[in-house]
Amino acid sequence: MKFRAFNRFLGILLSFFLFSCASDLDFNQVNDVKIEPVIVTNLAYFDVLANQFVTNGAEQNVIFDAPTVDVFNGSFFRQRLKKVELFFEMENTISRGYSVDLVFLDRNNQPVHAVNLAIPPYSGIENKVTKTEVFENTQLDVLKRTTRIAFTMTMLPGAALSESSTGSLKLRSGVTAYLVVE
């Protein structure tokens, strides 16, 4: 009697497992992971007032600065960077034209890339110029060496500015970085 009960018990147990099954799984697929995030961030920004071009009543025709930039630092980032877009937008509300040079310098102060933006004087209507540059492959490798950017603003000939001149020269610049992580 007891034996029969035990058999039935086993029977119930076994029939339960017989109905179980499993699809094929392939955990090696983890090795196929390839993610391609696109990251946007700021590259540079300035907003120079008209009167900054005037010192003690005399015009400064050229102003210059070369701050360090380490957007391209960090080995994780560098190795997985496949494409970069640099976006520049200048807006001028000063009644003088400008030529703005951005020179990307490597650690030996050698130029690796240069961008020139020329913008006419302000005449009461929106006065913007934009530029987008794309870097891939060798060009990108060169760009990655950048450690500083030299900004040079040269005033073009025109009506003289004074300490009370209005308006400003504004630069907005961003980076779009295309990464591939495998």
Binding site: K2, A5, C21, D24, N42, F46, Q52, T68, R172
Partner: protein, 464 residues
Amino acid sequence: MKKTVWVLVLMLAINCFSQNKQILYNFTSVPQSLLTNPGADFKYNFYFGIPLLSGISANVGSSGFSAYDLFAANGVDFNVKLRNVVFSTTRKDRLAINEQIEVFNGGFKISGEQSNSYISFGMYQEFDAMSYVPTDLAILALDGNRDYLGKVFNLGDLNVKAEMLSVFHLGFHKNINKNFILGVRGKIYSSIYNVSSTNNSGYIYTNPSSAGVYEQMIYSQLQLNTSGIAKYDDENYEPNVVKDITKRAFLGGNLGLGFDAGFTYYPKKNVQLTASMIDVGFIKHNKEVESLTYKGTYEYKGVIPKFSSGESVENGFQDFKDAIPLDTLYAAYTTWRPAKFNSSVQFSFDEERPEECNCLDYNPETIYKSAVGAQLFVMTTPRTPLVAFTTFYRRKIFKSLQMKATYTLDSYSYNNIGLGLSSTFGPVNFYVLADNLLEYRDITKANSLSFQLGLNVIFKNRKK
């Protein structure tokens, strides 16, 4: 190899990680039901579990996706499956594994003619891991931020904990009168290791801006606490994992205290009410503690040349590291055990005249052949508590075979059918309980599976 490990985990750990033992609860022909309610109506002269075999239980659960969704060998590109999983889950979805093995377990009735008091004791090892799906961080990693301007990525989505511990327990239950049984159990926890990162907050966002192209902000309050693993980081340390685990399992780890309490009450002979609180306790981590934090705020503006007028902002990676530094702390911390609340109501019918009257025994499992009822389970988690509602049917199939079938509703599924069988041949009790039976049609598609089995030796009171 990886596959083998996974399949093993699945096989061993077939179950719902909620730690809801809805089949075991109040299934009093199994001694281990005392661990879910120290006031369970379980009578014995003495019993002991076969060491290491008396209680094996495991659960795996994933509320948002199954192993099949991610790893099916169906020719679909893994990256497509990964994206589907990330975008179909939410931060509320959880992944969890729980595993318990009883090392030893036993109990005896306190001697004396009128005694209705019982002692039970034992030790079990437990592994517990739980992670919420870090949805926002996964989206940021997969897609980056370009297409998500204006979206605030929540760093609080990172919520993970894992712990291995051993538990020593001593329980006492007593028939206060013939229809009321009260039980308590004290527990000492010895944590072998603990990793927890459950109180994170912070955000990352990128908004279009007129000053600069973007307004980009990171506010981070991330902290990861660990105990018992710091020394494996040290290159000079020669690890002896087995020795370490053994030592810590036997009260050499970070210690904690907790208790369980519960009761069984019969308002009428065929109506039974029970309730229990399990694992109300904490562990104080003060040995081999190491915590990592990333705390701070940082706004990335890019390079801002100031020309001759002042210092340029060379706002870069170093600034970021200074603003949100990686700090290592060695401060003690406390973790709370996930507390569990169970309650049940049961109506018994199909009365069976016992051959010999045992007038003291109210236990419906001996008097009635059948019972129906409902159970409620609530467990604390790092976020909202987990709730499960179960209805059950219990039936004595033969004198030596009890069956309990359950239907459970919880956040993992609405079709969780479970079945438990407990057989007693002579003094030997063998039980096997499994839930989510419908998922066994294809276990790789299961969101949650649980499994418990064990072998005990029970000597019941035969006299009168």
